[in-house]
Amino acid sequence: MSDTFTKGMARNIYYGGSVFFLLLFAALTLHTTKEMPKSDHRENLTESVARGKVVWEDNNCIGCHTLIGEGAYYAPELGNVYFRRGGGNLDAFKGFMQGWMKIQPLGVPGRRQMPQFNLTEQQVDDLAEFLKFTAEMDVNSWPPNIEG
């Protein structure tokens, strides 16, 4: 390969190929962001949902849980918890969340413990709204079943 394939050709493949695929990736990303309003139902993004996302982030929930499959793998997937624990009913889900967050940590010996975050009722409601928003996005029917 030393005679027919020169370093110059290799260099051109590197610079040319990288620029071409970078532009292609940028174009596809742009197209994706234009299409996403159809599947992420951003029209339902209320102030409560936005506040809930801040609660989610300020308490580093992703450090134990996954959300749509990303995060830590130590605690259950929460992308679909609105359906798993609330059955798709917002009042029921908020009720569950208020109760669940209050009784942490469960204190069962040897069991993984969820910390007590001392959230206000408003914060827990906002978190529930955020998890509902996440659950209702169209993510190509993932996860495979309700257990996440």
């Binding site: 260099r11 970078l22 949902v49 982030e57 793998y73």
Partner: protein, 468 residues
Amino acid sequence: MSTLKFQSQSVATPYFVFALVLFAGQIVFGLIMGLQYVVGDFLAGAIPFNVARMVHTNLLIVWLLFGFMGAAYFLVPEESETELYSPKLAIVLFWVFAVAGTLTILGYLLVPYSTLAHITGNEYFPTMGREFLEQPTITKIGIVIVCLGFLFNIGMTILRGRKTVINMVLITGLIGLAVFFLFSFYNPANIALDKLFWWFVVHLWVEGVWELIMGAILAFILIKITGVDREIIEKWLYVIIAMALISGLLGTGHHFFWLATPGYWQWVGSVFSAIEPLPFFAMVLYAFNMVNNRRREHPNKAATLWALGTAVMAFLGAGVWGFLHTLAPVNYYTHGTQITAAHGHMAFYGAYAMIVLTIISYAMPKLRGVGEASSNKAQVIEMWGFWLMTVAMVFITLFLTGAGILQVWLQRIPENGEALNFMATQDKLSIFYWAREAAGVVFLVGLITYLCNFLVDRKAVEKRGEVE
């Protein structure tokens, strides 16, 4: 310091030393987490799992960045054939980064995360609380400043001296690292958009620009230890990083499968990530080829071992274990399971931890004034460290893969109502988690062994110091 070609290369020393200190910290927190997987309430009050994990992953990122910077400070003067533009700036930035990094880790450990978010003003410019990007906004700004100062220093050095292929590939990789990190400041309230652009940092770092940095460091080491013609090594380097970038850019698609994105990503992501193992395979061929055709017998056998090891382990971890679960129909079941954890462990160790340990192995004897290579005894200890850590990592990966397969089988494949729930599944996996923890202890023993090699030549170093 008589063994250095350029005096200013010595600024790499504190970077390498601090990188190894953070590496040790990373492993200790890894062991804590591993135990929390099976003894759920272990240290739950003092170091909750999310804190331990944040420390574990953030230390990893930061020690690798220290390693990359040390590598650049060491190899760029030699490649450019000129002294570093400003050794003083390099030392100042070292202290800025070290102090900011340490304060951030202490913040994670000493106050609740929400308190840390509050006292660092996260409500005014929220960027925290996203996996791997947990650093307070002010730390992120600090990282950007350190990166810019570092790039300026390296860039000016290259401009002043010889512009080799290794230099150019390294600097494009480092610029890419800085540019893509800027996406960590974009945190929209829409979780779908947030996640989409989060990958611009996470994927385009580890499966994009970091590979350029890795390729450049490996090429530098191979030239030094094999004496093979630079032209040949540079041609290979171009081919490998071209493949890496071409596959890696659109390979980002394998993270867009389940993200409120159009369905075409399942095809784009699957096809291009199927190509992603190829550059790593080429790297194995390249490294072994160069070592087999070497024109000199370099006294640093340990560095040669690290160079070959990183090629093989990067191929297995990033290439094979990545490909295992990268096709959309497979990923549908494995996404976010222990399979991901298995892949992550071996890929990060093989590609990035090992390349930094490779350059440290090559550079440290020179930086410490020991000579071309450490004494035979020190190298033997170093190679024991290599094998203990590497074999332990293979087993960590295998046990996590076992856990992941069982997890998919119990929790993901059965229909609603028949599938085991998450916590019940985790109970069934505990045997794998115990085995992983045992392998983790072996890894720590390997790391301690590895670190001991630096003690061996201490007398020689001290003696040299007295003579000079």
